[in-house]
């Protein structure tokens, strides 16, 4: 029997999400951090490790009054916070620190920020942005027509990702969008970047979230129900130039990250009760299901369209509504983690009955990075 070594003991989002014009980006980090610390009965002086992305980690430490012995500013895009979880676990195990705070805040809508969460790539600027590929909607989506031609993925299947996730969002009072969607609604929404329409693209929101991690032994002395890390997760990078992806039908970084997470958790796809896959655009859960091995290559679109991931389905996916319906500040990975923690604590408004094992998979940049962790409510397995 194995026992958990690392626990998430505090987890919270910002007090308000969506439109939060009264807080700066720094303020969103702090609001989320104080909520997460309150969740586990700690204060900033209890924190000796800190991590964030898209913002100077030193500024967040100073703003909160934290003098850490360990810091991680890994900033590879929206999955960075998932990456931070595994880095923090390694740091705690190595004795570099005992209690880690991971923060995210982003004024994506109100734009009260000086730090922009850009991932500047010299080669991307020189060889891709020169051709007008100025926004994520024009780059993240570039591989999809190839996948449609090679594998038979359809616009209707991509639309169904948004439809199904809206069904989950209807359960969440904090989700931005609740009204039911049909495939026709999605396919008649405004064209953004053919073949992607508005309802296949993420929201633009203000918000933040934070997590507190410590050893499983110490978690017993804290008030909140701990959620344990099973294995050390996985991560990988492919790089920021979308044109240089090895394949347009599958992400190399997704595959490596997922394989590592499964291997070192000692689980198979059939063991996963609940799944979060970062969805900045509606094709990402399709790539994710395939690249994580939940379905065969080319079968992700049909799997979602057939209803397997919807409420009551065999593989509940993106149960907060995802970046398409819950919220998307720009670096959404933190919200995927928050919903996974809620599910493992048994307190999600869209609770999956008896869910004990949750996988969280995120993308960073535009297929540039990936990270994956497995969370569980069980302290032993």
């Amino acid at each position: 029997m194995s026992r958990a070594e690392i626990a998430i003991v505090g987890a919270a989002e910002t007090t308000r999400m969506g439109k939060v014009p009264e807080l700066s980006q720094t303020g969103l980090h702090a609001d989320a951090a104080l909520n997460a610390l309150s969740d586990c009965g700690l204060t900033p002086t209890d924190i000796d490790g800190i991590a964030t992305a898209g913002h100077d980690v030193a500024e967040i430490a100073q703003y909160l009054g934290i003098t850490p012995s360990w810091a991680d500013g890994t900033s590879v895009g929206g999955c960075s916070f998932i990456t931070h979880v595994r880095h923090a676990a390694a740091a705690i195990q190595a004795g570099l620190c005992t209690t880690v705070l991971i923060t995210h805040g982003e004024s994506g809508r109100s734009n009260h920020r000086t730090h922009r969460p850009l991932f500047p790539s010299m080669q991307q600027q020189e060889f891709e942005n020169t051709y007008g590929a100025a926004f994520p909607a024009m780059k993240f989506t570039l591989p999809v027509l190839r996948k449609m031609k090679d594998e038979g993925l359809t616009e209707e299947q991509i639309a169904m990702v948004a439809v199904v996730q809206r069904e989950w969002a209807a359960h969440h009072p904090r989700a931005t969008a609740h009204d039911p969607l049909t495939v026709d609604n999605v396919l008649s929404s405004r064209m953004i970047a053919y073949p992607f329409r508005k309802l296949m693209c993420c929201l633009v929101s203000d918000g933040g979230g934070a997590l507190v991690l410590t050893s499983a032994d110490r978690a017993k002395d804290l008030p909140a129900k701990p959620v344990y890390l099973r294995g050390m997760g996985g991560e990988s990078l492919e790089g920021p130039m979308i044109s240089q992806m090895e394949s347009f039908t599958s992400s190399k970084a997704f595959r490596m990250s997922g394989k590592l997470a499964f291997e070192n958790a000692g689980i198979s796809q059939a063991d996963v009760d609940h799944l979060m896959i970062y969805d900045a655009f509606a094709h990402l859960p399709i790539y994710g299901l395939e690249d994580l091995g939940f379905v065969a290559p080319g079968e992700g679109g049909a799997f979602i369209a057939d209803g397997h991931t919807r409420p009551g389905g065999t593989l509940p996916l993106n149960t907060n509504g995802g970046g398409l319906s819950y919220m998307h500040s720009g670096m959404y990975g933190m919200y995927a983690l928050q919903e996974s923690v809620r599910q493992m604590r048994g307190i999600s408004p869209a609770q999956v009955p008896n869910a004990k094992l949750s996988m969280v998979h995120g993308v960073g940049g535009m297929f540039s990075a990936a990270s994956t962790v497995v969370l569980t409510s069980a302290s032993h397995w």
């Binding site: 020189e126 051709y131 590929a133 190839r146 970047a193 053919y194 044109s243």
Partner: protein, 135 residues
């Protein structure tokens, strides 16, 4: 079209843009691997060798994938095409598709393309358009 974005050019990529000014599409090639690669760099991303030369590409390729942006970008009124071209030599790169409507019916995947060149002030940018004769 000089309001379109200009690339920031670095020492390692100057030859690529100098070639474009002469209406040549130049690629780095790893000599030991005998494989051209993109974007330019003075070593092989496959094997790490610094034994790299420059070849002139045929300028032929196929439409590998694309989107039609309905959001304008600086220098690009909507709609416009952002495409990935797979060169006959293997590497892929981003291009617009010139001399072609921004319409899915005019843009079947795998259609044959040929290089052309667009002048933006002092810089010439490689571009692609439908090939006059199918490959």
């Amino acid at each position: 079209m000089t309001d379109r974005p200009l690339p920031t050019i670095y020492p390692e990529t100057q030859f690529y843009w100098d070639g474009a000014a002469e209406h040549k599409l130049l690629l780095n090639r790893c000599v030991p691997c005998n494989e051209p690669f993109f974007p330019p760099r003075p070593f092989c991303p496959g094997c790490g060798s610094r034994d790299v030369d420059v070849i002139e590409a045929s300028g032929r390729g196929r439409l590998y994938s694309y989107v039609i942006s309905h959001i304008p970008a600086p220098g690009y009124p909507a709609p416009f095409v952002v495409a990935v071209v797979e060169l006959a030599e293997g590497p892929r790169l981003v291009s617009n598709i010139l001399d072609c409507p921004a319409d899915p019916d005019a843009l079947p995947l795998d259609m044959s393309l040929e290089v052309t060149f667009e002048v933006r002030g002092d810089i010439t940018v490689p571009q692609f358009r439908p090939a006059e004769v199918s490959a």
